[in-house]
């Protein structure tokens, strides 16, 4: 993908990163950056100069706490930018294997964290029905959810490449 396209995609989404003055408030506020290579200030700079961020593993280290976005003196929507770049990456077939797995759980069960036997037992112990009042209990509702995901081509998007 043409790197310039990333900046344009951000602009289309109403996100302007070129006004960043590299003050570092974002990195100083980042709980993930305390433990990982994620340096939000540098990340924004690299986006500004059209470096390839789609393959950069820092992209997946943001816990979306929004500290940087709330505190940015220039009002840059930093988390929204990261999420938008993730979208571009996923549509280019780039995603973590674990994220592909939970996407398949969503496709199969309509839940990203489906029920298991141990929780069914806990539910019964509490006097609740073993299956909750969600798609787990209503097969037609699950079919609807699956049809909706097919309509959005989510199944194709997250298929093993």
């Amino acid at each position: 993908m043409d790197e310039l396209d990333v900046l344009n995609r951000l602009k289309d989404a109403g996100i302007e990163v070129l006004t960043c003055m590299q003050c570092g408030t974002c990195s100083g506020s980042c709980p993930s950056g305390r433990y990982t290579s994620l340096n939000t200030r540098r990340f924004v700079r690299m986006v500004q100069v059209n470096m390839d961020m789609l393959h950069c593993e820092d992209l997946w280290m943001c816990a979306t706490c929004y500290n940087c976005q709330e505190r940015c003196p220039r009002g840059i929507k930093i988390v929204d930018a990261i999420l938008t770049i993730r979208t571009i990456a996923v549509h280019e077939g780039i995603m973590l294997p674990e994220h592909r797995k939970i996407s398949h759980l969503l496709l199969k069960h309509g839940h990203s964290v489906p029920i298991n036997d141990s929780t069914k037992q806990k539910r019964e112990k509490l006097g609740l029905e073993p299956l909750p009042e969600t798609v787990h209990k209503y097969p037609q509702a699950l079919k609807d959810v699956q049809r909706l995901m097919e309509s959005c081509e989510f199944d194709k998007l997250v298929a093993e490449k």
Binding site: P31, S32, R34, Y35, T36, W60, M61, C62, A63, T64, C65, Y66, N67, Q69, E70, V79, I82, R86, T87, V90, H91, M95, L96, E98, H99, I102, S103, L106, G110, H111, S112, V113, P114, T119, K122, R123, K125, L126, G127, L128, P132, E133, T134, V135, H136, K137, Y138, Q140, A141, L142, D144, V145, R147, L148, M149, S151, C152, F154, L157, V158
Partner: protein, 298 residues
């Protein structure tokens, strides 16, 4: 008062059913009209699915909201992630007619329509706004003299331009609800810090996510509290399951009990810790369970 439908999400019914039971007990006891939202799915999770594909994210979210619209009820969420997803999706669909039209084109295939007639609420802001700490205080039968480390969780208050719940740096509405049941909300270092679960970090980069929760737990431990209270089952899972994983990997044993606000409120309204499923957590702390017994049986 506003009529509600209870949106369960994934982690509450499928991992921590005690929170489901506690929420239903509390709503009933407080006289809040709330039905099950039958056939709902994953919200879908904002940190992962929203960033993978916005079309899918908003289509599934709009279906969940449409189910509640059909009942003529607002959606009640009990999870910061579900709140974030459904409130954001609702807001975007209500303000963007083109997005609403394209989303409804998908929904039409399953005979549903997003109309934009329902609001999305979070149980904490709902209780604060519609009942208020004073009214809750009056209904308490077991004042819980506990030292609580309150964890707001990021997506309850942020992004602030979507939430409009006041200060994101030092909010206090949730603390007031903790004090209302007789407990002390203890101030501690990094109180507003993230638990490290969101944004697909817990699912995608587990080790990083544990380092973040370990940091937060170390700060909570310094504050010498009886328990952690949250309003989000994903933060709950991160604190509860995370402690077990930290013990296994790093050899640090915190054994700090973790409660969702619904469970804490349930105890104060007269239910037992067993009824609220507090003993079904991964972290076992008998001393705390005994303390609760004394507080709720006197």
């Amino acid at each position: 008062m506003t009529k509600l439908s209870l949106f369960l999400g994934c982690i509450i019914p499928n991992r921590y059913p005690g929170i489901e039971k506690a929420t239903k007990f509390c709503l009933d006891k407080l006289g809040i009209d709330c039905n099950d939202l039958k056939g709902a799915s994953c919200c879908p999770a904002p940190g992962v699915f929203r960033s993978f594909d916005k079309t899918t994210w908003i289509a599934l979210a709009s279906r969940n909201i449409a189910l509640s619209e059909e009942l003529g009820r607002d959606v009640l969420t009990v999870c910061n992630g579900c709140y974030g997803s459904l409130a954001d999706a609702n807001h975007e669909l209500k303000k963007d007619a083109t997005l609403k039209k394209s989303t409804n084109a998908h929904l039409e295939k399953i005979g549903k329509e997003f109309k934009g007639t329902a609001d999305v609420r979070h149980i904490v802001e709902f209780l604060y706004d519609e009942l208020g700490p004073e009214n809750i205080k009056e209904m308490v039968v077991n004042p819980l003299k506990l030292r609580v480390a309150l964890h707001y969780g990021c997506h309850l208050v942020k992004p602030s331009n979507e939430r409009n719940l006041g200060s994101v740096e030092r909010p206090d509405f949730f603390d007031e609800l903790i004090e209302a049941i007789g407990a002390e909300s203890v101030d501690y270092s990094d109180k507003m810090a993230c638990c490290g679960a969101g944004g697909g970090v817990r699912s995608g980069l587990h080790g990083t996510s544990l380092e973040m929760v370990n940091h937060k737990l170390s700060r909570i431990q310094e504050a010498d509290v009886d328990c952690i209270v949250n309003a989000c089952p994903f933060c709950h899972l991160q604190f509860d399951g995370g402690q077990v994983e930290i013990k296994d990997i790093l050899g640090i044993d915190y054994s700090i009990p973790v409660l969702h606000y619904s469970q804490l409120l349930g105890l104060a309204l007269g239910f037992s810790s067993q009824e609220m499923g507090i003993d079904l957590n991964q972290i076992k702390n008998n001393e705390f369970i005994e303390k609760l017994k004394k507080l709720t049986e006197d």
